[in-house]
Amino acid sequence: MLGISWWKWISVFLLIYVLTRGLLVPLKPGILDVSPGRIQSGDSLELTVYGYNSFYTKGSPRVYLKLADSFILPSLEVIPEEDTKLRAVFLLPEFLPVKQKLVQASIIVDSESDGSSVIPSKLIISQDSVNQVLGAELWSQSGVPVFHYKSNFKFPYRNILYETIRNTFFHVAIWFGMFALMFGSLFYSIKVLRYGRAEDDLKAYSQVYVAVLFGMMGLLTGSLWARFTWDTWWTNDIKLNMAALSMLIYVAYLILRFNVEDRDRRARISAAYNIFAVVAIIPLIFVLPRLTDSLHPGNGGNPAFGGEDMDNALRVVFYPAVLGFILLGFWLSDLKYRVMYLQDQKAGQEDNLNP
């Protein structure tokens, strides 16, 4: 039993691994929010920092304001109130090291227990008059500090995403599974047109059937994710719309099959349409979104799995998830095929008994 279905066991093992590790590994410490959000240069600032998964009471944290690429201002005093809340006191120099009167600063919290975490462009600093040279001198006096680094295995903390970053293992991996099934069905559709075997038609159909199921789950998990991160169930993002259009093409395939009664004709026509559909998916999902700006990684010029998008801790779970969902998809389609094959056999026997 294990011999012929080893890949099913691998699928089970991988998906259990993805579920446990993907859901149980905590996120790295991060900064949820800071208050106040706006300050005047030259004033004294008491900044309250709200952390996430942090231990501010343990690691004697230090807090910094960061401007542009190279200007860092350390806090005069840090008072940890709770594990996830601290107060930091700054004395802002009279001038800023920039030409603008209004500038956004990032906040960095660094401690021995948590390592360093940052919330980018969160604090707006304004100045009445500009003196860039003096501002640069005042801001660079302290020099660049050495930050702590924690090497324990945790998923990255990203503002906006928070815990939903784990959806990468399901939403994206399900899409990979869907594409694998679509290309699998393409292979069997070509075989149908080449050799005309009914079994190949059933295999192509069962794979498209599960691919549509995966596609719907991909749309659903994507929509839920969009609701949490972008505050909307659906956006005008090109990748979203092209994905929905691809689903429509495959729903059309299913409708086409239901409308043709003759088995041979159904096999040939649906195989031809399936080849057309798979080829149409390539420009819709892989080409068109790359030509315009998109919220999704890998489109509009940004990299798909570059260092900015995919942390190595995520990769450890993501790649097994992709493989696991691909294998699960083929497993489900295999079950669907066997059911349909038996139904066909039964229908054939009944036809022979009642000609």
């Binding site: 047109l193 080449r194 086409l256 026509i269 420009p283």
Partner: protein, 221 residues
């Protein structure tokens, strides 16, 4: 041999045009439909900016091309099945249907263009750019429509099936056509921002190649 093939193409093309326009009333009806549609959208929109003009043009043309395309194989694979399958090469029939649809869609798109131009003038439009866009766009649409017309003509409720099959496939094409049309109306021209134009060109080549590869397999009956 090529002369014989060309004469066959001409005969089949002539048959299609005769069947489509066996009386001038039919051509009049098409013109009346285009004028009526243009007038209706103008009457209800009351807007004459390039964006509205372009959007209305493509919506009306979507319907025009859809109703023209869905029945190109209706009779050839129905009443005249014997003729289609025995007297002529299937490739030739498909090629002629493509040509017929391509010519018809171009005529209709230009009629619609001029009706829109007269009723709702959008300002300066480069007619040659528009001609280039429509020639390329109609080439892709005619290939996709005639292919799906073959598929849907083999089942009972063909109009519904044709709609379901074709709309998701041509939707991006119409989107690219709309954006290129807008670029022409805004004076950028087809080659000013050619990214959308290249998409249409790519889809056209893709569709032609694919259809001619798959066609021999689905014709067997």
């Amino acid at each position: 041999m090529p002369t014989k093939m060309v004469s066959k193409i001409v005969i089949l093309l002539k048959k299609d045009f005769l069947k489509e326009f066996r009386s001038f009333h039919q051509l009049g009806a098409v013109l009346a439909f285009l004028t009526g549609a243009a007038y209706l959208v103008y009457f209800f929109s009351r807007k004459d900016g390039p964006e509205e003009w372009n959007l209305l043009y493509w919506i009306v043309f979507l319907f025009v091309s859809f109703f023209t395309g869905y029945r190109v194989f209706e009779e050839d694979l129905g009443r005249y099945k014997a003729l289609s399958h025995q007297l002529y090469d299937p490739f030739l029939i498909y090629l002629v249907k493509n040509l017929f649809l391509f010519i018809l869609l171009n005529v209709l798109s230009f009629l619609l263009f001029f009706v829109f131009l007269i009723l709702m003038p959008p300002g300066n439009v480069n007619c040659f750019d528009w001609l280039g866009l429509m020639l390329l766009f109609n080439a892709a649409v005619s290939v996709i429509f005639s292919f799906n017309s073959i598929l849907s003509s083999q089942v009972s409720n063909q109009t519904l099936l044709f709609t379901v099959l074709v709309l998701p496939l041509v939707f991006p094409l119409f989107g690219a056509g709309y954006l290129t049309g807008l670029a022409i109306l805004n004076g950028t021209g087809v080659f000013g921002d050619a990214s959308q134009f290249r998409i249409i060109f790519g889809i056209t080549l893709f569709a032609i190649a694919l259809v001619f590869l798959i066609l021999p397999f689905i014709w067997k009956n």
